[in-house]
Subunit: 229 residues, 2 copies
Amino acid sequence: MALRYLGQTLAQQIDVELMSPTAGCFSIDQLMELAGFSVAQAITKVYSKEKFPRVLICVGNNGGDGLVCARHLHHFGYQPSIFYPKQPNKLLYQNLTNQLRNLDVSMVNNLNDQLTKSDLIVDGIFGFSFSGGIRAPFDEVIKTLKSSTLPIVSIDIPSGWNVEQGNIDNVGLEPEMLVSLTAPKIAAKFFKGKHHFLGGRFIPPSFAKKYELNLPEYPGSDQCVRLPN
Amino acid sequence: MALRYLGQTLAQQIDVELMSPTAGCFSIDQLMELAGFSVAQAITKVYSKEKFPRVLICVGNNGGDGLVCARHLHHFGYQPSIFYPKQPNKLLYQNLTNQLRNLDVSMVNNLNDQLTKSDLIVDGIFGFSFSGGIRAPFDEVIKTLKSSTLPIVSIDIPSGWNVEQGNIDNVGLEPEMLVSLTAPKIAAKFFKGKHHFLGGRFIPPSFAKKYELNLPEYPGSDQCVRLPN
C-alpha cells in the first residue's frame, strides 16, 4: 500500500483530531516537541555539525517546530541562529523563544548579513495551513532566501508552495531537503530536492488505518525515516 | 570534573527552575515527553524488542515519565502493558493515559498475573520526590516486584530507595538498569545493577554550569547516554 499524500483539509483535520480531548488527547507542547525533535534529528542524518555547524532557522508566524528544532540542534552541538521577524504574542511561542535565549542562541534581525555567516538554512516559515499570497514581511524574506546558494531544509511544506499544487509560479523555496510531518502533503509529490524525510512518530495506528496513511516503518528509536525519492 | 550527584532538595530546585516562567520556561508536557522518550530509547539499547517484547510498566502517583515511555515503546514495536493502581484526577495524566488507550495498550489490574506474561519491568512508581515510608498500595506492589526474577528498569530512582541514602533496610527494588533523569541522584552511587544511563537532554549549559552538574556528552542525536558503572 502506497504512502498517502494529504490534502490541506485532511492535514488540518488530523491535526485537530490529534489534539482533541475526545480523540488523540495530545497537547500542542507534546506534538511540537516531537515534531521539532524529528526535524533536528533528520538534519543530523544529512548535514553533519562538522560541515554545517551554523544553521539559520527562519521562523514564521506559528513556527514552533522550527524553534524546537533549533533547541535540539543546539544540544546536538550545532550553532543555530534564529530569524523570527513576526513573533506572536502567545505564551507557548514566548516560552519556546525563551528556551532558546537560555541557550544563548542568537536572535538575528539582518537576514542578508546572517546568510553570509551560515552553512544551512531551515525554513520554518509556512506550514500546512498556508494559503493565498505571501504577505509581508515574508515576501521579501522568501526572495532573499531564494537568492542564497545555501542548502535549505523545509519543515513540512516548502514556504511559498501551495499545499496541494506545489511551487506555483515558482514563488516558493526550492529546498534540498524536506521533512514532512505526520504524513507528506500532496505538494511533496513535486519536491525535487535530494532528501525527503518523514517525522512525527506519534500517529496512533488506529488513526493511520482510519485515514489510510500507510506510514513507513521508522528504524529503531529514530523519530524520522528517509522516504524514497 | 566529575559528574554531580544531586541531593533531593537540589533535584527539586532544578525541576522547579526548569519550569519557572522566569527561568527555564519549559512546560511539564515538554519535559515529561523528553524524559519519557529518553527512558524508552535507553531501554532499546539494552533490551531488544525481539528478546524483551512484553514490557510491564508500573506507574505510581505521578508517573508521567512511565506513561510517556510506554507510548514510545509501543511505537518502537514493543508490547507495553500498564499497571497503574492509583490514577490521579489530573488532566495531564488522564491525557497521557488516553494516548495509551488509543494505542490499545493494556491497562492491567492483576500484577501477579501480568508478571507471568512479561519479559521486562519498568519501575515508574516513585521519583526523586519520594520520602518517608512506602504507603499502600505500593508496599505490596514493591514486595511483589521484588519477588519477580524479571529484569527491572528504574526511572530516576529505584522505588523504595531513599533519594540520598539508597536502599535502606533493603525495602526497595534492585533494578538491573537505572535511567537517571537530568542528573543522577545521590542514591545512584549505591546502584549495583548492570546498566546506568542518563536521560533528559534538555538542561541548558548555563544551568549545568551554575549547579556544577558536569554532564557527560550525549552521542549524536541520542536522548540518553550510558554512564560508567
